[in-house]
Symmetry: none
Subunit: 94 residues, 4 copies
């Protein structure tokens, strides 16, 4: 996208961004980078937690498996709910 303000044509000719578009773009970049920074920090903390568990003698592989299973269960429940809705709709109950 070359100019979010101007472009009504969908042509691919390069054109400069308006200053308004540039400003919006800057803001998007800033918001994204903030969120990614926070996300990286959480990832960092997760690593630390696993490291701490490991240093206390826990098997991180098994620990990760537990986490994965619990998540999977949650997903399964959500999926089951979805399927129920789908079936109810299929038999005209919605």
């Amino acid at each position: 996208m070359y100019d979010a303000d101007d472009d009504q044509s969908h042509v691919s000719a390069p054109q400069a961004l308006t200053s308004s578009s540039k400003e919006k773009l800057r803001q998007f970049v800033a918001r994204i980078e903030t969120l990614e920074t926070e996300k990286s920090e959480l990832a960092e903390q997760l690593k630390e937690v696993y490291g701490e568990a490991k240093s206390l003698g826990f098997d991180t592989k098994a620990l990760r498996a537990v986490i994965r299973l619990r998540k999977q269960d949650a997903n399964d429940r959500a999926e089951a709910e979805m399927m129920l809705d789908l079936y109810l709709e299929a038999v005209g109950e919605i």
Copy 2:
């Protein structure tokens, strides 16, 4: 995990976890799940931001490229900084 409290041996005898170990395990699981939830929320917000940018006509693929490049630049700068420090230290400037 054999038992973070008991096991100093790494032998293969089956043994249950002590209640203390179980409690620690529960806490680790809780901490991890909290962090992962927050991480997912940030991921969600990132998707929303990209979606908003897209709805305003910005090319998200290009936007992602911008983010990636800036990140790379930051890494490069950090690395250069590290090298500089290393050299300064090597010549006794620190």
Copy 3:
């Protein structure tokens, strides 16, 4: 799905599938699962081939790029062919 045999109405009344429909459904599921199994096996074999190439010292990323480019070329050639046919037909040469 209301009933592939019966339903001409698209009304929302709940109704069970006829046994004939159920049988068809089973067959569809079976055919799909067979095809997906075969597809997974091919995917598996592809992984093995890439693994073998890697173990012989080839850069799999470059190898993948080669495959991608050749595929693109093939697509381009097919498209050119189609255009040619279209033009030939347009000038009454077919």
Copy 4:
């Protein structure tokens, strides 16, 4: 990878491939392209099957959900098996 026969150094200097390496490369490309062709054909057939089901009045969305669920169940069983092994190993039973 610049030469699968010669390169013991892992340096990144560009160098020509030996004819032996080139030949191997050609064979890998051929094998990969064969497998990918077959995979695409299966994908094509899958599309046809779903299309046929749809034309007979079946709800493909529900059909896909069924397939997904059955696959998920299989995965769950495999995962459960893995967890069992993991736990058995953790208590020294392997």
